[in-house]
């Protein structure tokens, strides 16, 4: 399978969020989340400046059959603005922490976006017609003096240029004291949850003034605090089940049928620490930065600092698979701790069939692991190597011993270039990689040749 993941780069000039190639970027341009919708037709990114950019996949054109699959900007809007909490004297950043699409139910698309505190529901809809021929209102929309209207005129819909409208539909505020790290839409399509460092709340999508607290791990005394919630997600089709991960490397599966407040988990997934790898940083590197249910709902994928793990919902005492993302960093933990990289939160993703997993690393590298063949590959998202339609070459990090041509040594990895956010198309082998302020979209070569 993995040998077919020779990826093609779509036309990155249309996908780059930079105004100019190699132009300097500001902090606000850094992409902070990437998410495909349920069909894969749309792809949304959020950035530190509070903006959301939606890309749409172009339909196949008759003249150029190879064009299929390119994503172009569909809509851009400002989702969050910097705010100030006067009660607590705190600035609230506009950075978009997560975006989640709602399953499509009519012509419009809906998505949830969140910053540290406030979740917003957005409606994305198209308009290509407008009514013309009103005679009750003047050009500026003001009601005319009705005595001057002498005839009844029925407005008609006239075609116009396609317009994408994005409007805020709900604002879910004031429910989180700590930073929201995850949102997840339930399979019932009516509720969603939002998780912060210490609590998880359950919301109805239509109700903004009320939410139910379903997990609360805040101790009575904050001095006793040793663990925080790092991510949370609903089961893909059992609407009563959800999982949350912690900074101590544990996963807790909760069943909302058991009680209103799920403080008692149904299952606890935890792997005993390997004493041979023990160091000062053991706890920090075991902190889970992301958790994802497989599409089948049978497995869980977790990312910690050095590994990705696949857990079977039916086995709590250890993961069924563990993949090393960049084990060569194990000897450099002290430096990574010093420069704060050890606190980086890498995400992870499943492919459409749950057979391949993907996660990011440093130096603009990202890794893919084939679960069946146990093969893995390191690829690089860079402007140099990803000219449109070029095939990505696997990269190799040299860890002592003989160094081959094109290998890169651990010492020359650039730790400021990190791929934290990645997304995989729900059905096809198309992946989206956020590298600082650039979005790369790679596509399986075989796939595009077939079309």
């Amino acid at each position: 399978m993995l040998n077919t993941i020779q990826v093609l780069c779509s036309d990155i000039t249309t996908l780059s969020l930079e105004a100019k190639q190699f132009a300097s970027y500001t902090e606000a341009d850094i992409i902070s989340t990437v998410e495909f919708n349920q069909t894969g037709e749309l792809l949304a990114t959020g950035d530190k400046g509070g903006r959301v950019v939606i890309f749409q996949r172009e339909p196949e054109s008759k003249n150029e059959p190879n064009c299929q699959g390119e994503y172009n900007v569909y809509s851009t809007f400002q989702s969050h603005e910097p705010e100030f909490d006067y009660l607590k004297s705190l600035e609230i950043e506009e950075k978009i922490n997560k975006i989640r699409w709602l399953p499509q139910q009519n012509a419009a698309h809906f998505l949830l976006s969140t910053n540290d505190k406030t979740i917003k529901l957005w409606k994305v809809s198209e308009r290509d017609k407008r009514p013309e021929g009103y005679n009750l209102k003047d050009e500026e929309g003001r009601l005319k003096d009705l005595s001057t209207v002498t005839s009844l005129q029925v407005p008609v819909l006239k075609p116009m240029d396609l317009m994408v409208e994005v409007s805020p539909r709900r604002i879910f505020a004031n429910a989180h004291t700590y930073h929201v790290n995850s949102i997840s839409v339930n399979s019932d399509c009516e509720t969603y949850m939002s998780a912060d460092d210490l609590r998880i709340n359950l919301w109805h999508l239509a109700i903004t003034d009320r939410s139910f607290n379903i997990v609360d791990i805040k101790p009575a005394n904050m001095e006793d605090l040793t663990e925080v919630i790092t991510a949370a997600e609903f089961h893909p089709y059992h609407c009563n089940l959800f999982v949350y991960s912690s900074s101590k490397g544990t996963l807790r599966l909760c069943d909302m049928r058991a009680s209103a407040l799920c403080d008692k988990h149904s299952k606890l997934f935890e792997e005993p620490e390997d004493p041979s790898n023990r160091s000062f940083f053991s706890e920090i590197i075991s902190s889970i930065s992301d958790v994802k249910f497989s599409h089948s709902g049978r497995y869980l994928l977790t990312r910690d600092y050095l590994t990705v793990k696949v857990w079977d919902l039916n086995m709590e005492n250890k993961p069924i698979e563990t993949y090393q993302v960049h084990d060569y960093l194990r000897s450099k933990l002290c430096s990574l701790y010093e420069n704060d990289c050890i606190f980086d939160k890498f995400e992870c993703a499943w492919n459409g069939t749950d057979s391949v997993i993907m996660t990011g690393a440093y130096n603009n590298f990202f890794r893919m692991f084939d679960r069946n063949t146990k093969r893995d590959v390191t690829l690089e998202a860079s402007r140099e190597s990803s000219k449109p339609r070029a095939v990505l070459k696997p990269r190799r990090v040299c860890t002592g011993g003989k160094r081959r041509k094109d290998d890169i040594s651990v010492d020359s990895l650039d730790f400021t270039k990190k791929i934290l956010h990645t997304a995989w198309h729900p059905a096809e082998n198309i992946i989206a990689i956020a590298a600082t302020n650039n979005l790369y979209i790679f596509q399986d070569k075989v796939n595009s040749e077939v079309h």
Binding site: L87, Y178, F280, E283, K332, G400
Partner: protein
């Protein structure tokens, strides 16, 4: 220090390989264990301290730092007796003086610290906002109601009595046998260089257990606004 290798040219490659195989790759691994631990401890403290400067620090990060600190703490406590004897060896230029230590102690233990007269606006502002947030939250004001000693009474600090400590320190301190120690310390400037505003948060010995726990407690209690 990671950036050290970034712009190497081809001819330097052999050098790199040599460094890799000799294991002098990561500076921490060349240090003896107690000093490694001390290094990590110092970084923990300075990171926690810098957390306080932020208006709303990441709770996740603070908890991870605090747990690491606790772990080292516990380890040092368990082997406390031995450690006093083989007290960590520091180069004479480690720039930690009684003065800076006492000022750092002052900083973290009393909100209305007045000392030395050379106070910096930055720090007083941060400590103000810190305590300001407590008032607003209107929750139990831990810091004023509780003596810090009580909170961590399970930790026996008596053996690290300051008088003992000072006698240990008054002996001329021999250079560490690891000749590279000075170099390696240099690569962690956050730990050994005096900070620009004069507050020195470098904690060099068990003597400062109390202080460590204060920082620890301090860092976490910032989040107690419900």
């Amino acid at each position: 220090m990671l950036s050290r290798g970034v712009k190497r040219k081809l001819e330097d490659d052999e050098e790199i390989m040599a460094a890799e195989t000799s294991g002098a790759f990561d500076s921490s691994s060349s240090l003896p264990y107690p000093q490694q631990r001390q290094l990590v401890l110092n970084m923990c403290l300075s990171k926690l301290q810098s957390c306080h400067m932020k208006v709303e620090p990441s709770l996740h990060r603070s908890v991870l730092l605090a747990n690491t600190l606790r772990q080292i703490q516990e380890e040092m406590r368990q082997e406390g007796g031995d450690l006093l004897l083989e007290s960590p060896v520091y180069p004479n230029n480690s720039s930690v003086t009684d003065n800076t230590m006492s000022s750092s102690l002052c900083f973290s233990s009393s909100p209305s610290y007045e000392n030395d007269g050379d106070e910096q606006p930055v720090d007083s502002r941060s400590s103000d906002s810190l305590f300001g947030s407590f008032e607003i939250s209107n929750s139990t004001s831990y810091l004023t109601d509780l003596a810090l000693d009580d909170i961590f009474e399970d930790i026996d600090t008596s053996m690290y009595d300051s008088s003992d400590f000072s006698t240990v320190m008054s002996f001329p301190v021999p250079r560490s046998p690891v000749s590279s120690s000075e170099d390696t310390m240099k690569s962690f400037p956050t730990c050994i260089s005096p900070s620009s505003n004069g507050i020195q948060i470098c904690i060099t010995d068990l003597n400062d257990l109390d202080h460590i726990m204060e920082i620890l407690f301090f860092g976490i209690s910032q989040f107690s606004l419900t």
